[in-house]
């Protein structure tokens, strides 16, 4: 239906291309990594394409595939010397809008643990380096069924329940996955405080392929005060059936971030993170500061410096920069 808009030249950067009942969009992210003690690299971190379709209330398919981690330059060598890059099926599901507020989702989806995992596209998130707590200690995906409740008038909290009975559809390669989960279930409640502002609560129960059970509890927030935006996430995972390489019975983390809009296009930002990884006996403490330039709502350049203050590093100390486009 919206295709007629594009016949009239209605394409807008960041909003994709309408072709009949389909919308085709995506994002790209090129990252320069200059860690102090490791090899420097320039990579195509993500080249993602996603397609949305609308065929009435019950049939609204969505699919996203991406090329991830393709080296352009690595330690002074051009691509071809080293190769790299993986094609990944990120999401593949159908939404059925049972009522104005209730949607049934079936397929492979991102899990609503915190805010970052759901909107992890580089042009949408605050920093180039992702805090570990936003992805390391839970299943980022669920393949199964989910019920989503969204109050049209934003008077009541949004709610999502999800259930994965078996393994992940189109499992990611080991270079991109930290754990493989064979059963996942969880819930997320989000209290809207504004259009972008919210407080969220997450729960996820999972069992990985090694039989290790994990119960995760999380909280996240996003709050704007004039030019200042504050956000953060914290999770605690209780791990049972402790595996042989684990150093802890629980994995936890917390990050808090602030960004300040210097002008309409420039902003300064930073975050602090503590992350206690299950396989490390010491807790990592990292701080990051950076500067972002957004010439268009769908384009952003970021440059930032991360310093590991103490503990076993999860993210390396060094300089990072990225250029990302939502198209």
């Amino acid at each position: 239906m919206a295709g007629a808009a594009n016949a009239d030249g209605g394409y807008e950067l960041g909003h994709g291309l309408d072709l009949g009942p389909f919308n085709i969009a995506g994002y790209s992210n090129v990252v320069a990594k200059l860690p102090t003690l490791e090899q420097k690299s320039l990579i195509l971190d993500d080249l993602s394409l996603f397609v949305t379709g609308h065929f009435g209330r019950l049939v609204n398919p969505f699919a996203e595939a991406e090329l991830a981690g393709l080296d352009i330059l690595h330690g002074g060598h051009l691509i071809g010397d080293r190769g790299g890059g993986e094609v990944v099926l990120e999401r593949f599901y159908n939404d059925s809008h049972l009522t104005d507020g209730v949607t049934l989702r079936l397929g492979k989806m991102l899990t609503p643990v915190g805010e970052w995992n759901q909107i992890h596209a580089a042009p949408l998130v605050l920093t180039t380096v992702r805090p570990a707590v936003t992805y390391r200690n839970f299943s980022e995906y669920a393949t199964g069924a989910s019920i989503l409740y969204t109050d049209p008038n934003r008077h009541f909290p949004d709610l999502q329940l999800y259930y994965q009975p078996a393994g992940e559809l189109s499992e990611r390669p080991s270079s991109l996955a930290f754990h493989y989960y064979k059963a996942v279930e969880g819930a997320h409640v989000s209290l809207p405080l504004g259009l972008l502002d919210k407080i969220g609560f997450s729960f996820q129960q999972s069992k990985d392929v090694n039989g290790i059970d994990q119960s995760l509890y999380g909280v996240d927030f996003h709050y704007t005060i004039d030019r200042l935006t504050l956000q953060g996430e914290s999770t605690f995972s209780d791990i049972s059936n402790r595996g042989p390489i684990q150093a802890r019975d629980a994995e936890w983390g917390i990050y808090t971030a602030a960004s300040y809009a210097l002008t309409d296009k420039w902003s300064a930002y930073g975050w602090y993170e503590s992350f206690a990884e299950r396989t490390a006996s010491s807790t990592a403490h990292d701080v990051l500061i950076g500067l972002a330039y957004r010439p268009h709502p769908a384009i952003v350049f970021k440059i930032e410096y991360l310093q590991n203050l103490s503990g076993h590093p999860v993210n390396p100390t060094g300089l990072f920069a990225s250029w990302s486009v939502l198209f």
Partner: protein, 142 residues
Amino acid sequence: MRTRFLAIASLAVLLLAGSAKAEGLLIIANPSVKVAVPVSLSQVAAVYLLRVTAWADGRHIVPVNREATSAAREKFNAAVLQEDGATLAAYWNEMHFLGKEPPVVQESERAMLAFIQNVPGSIGYISASIAPVNVEVLAHVP
């Protein structure tokens, strides 16, 4: 002489831009849309914020916006969505990544009216001074 001409021209542009803000908007929809009128502005906001994505008959809703710099969109943002343009742009980008299509953009009153006349399920807004020909008027924004 040239300075006087520029001053008059500038004043005319300002008056024209201001008139779009002053005269109000009509919320219009394709004739295929069957809803009880008038529709409340909070219902219109729910559509544009992508919290409601299908009409009662199951047809997909196609919300339509004017370009970001238009006075009509500025008025619509303030009066109906009650948010500033930058916040809305960030929100729609997030929603798009989450699988919900942001409003389609039409860059003139004429293009907006033609789109709404021709695309089933579409909803948009025009200046109240424009005749709403071959569309359903759902609400008036003063």
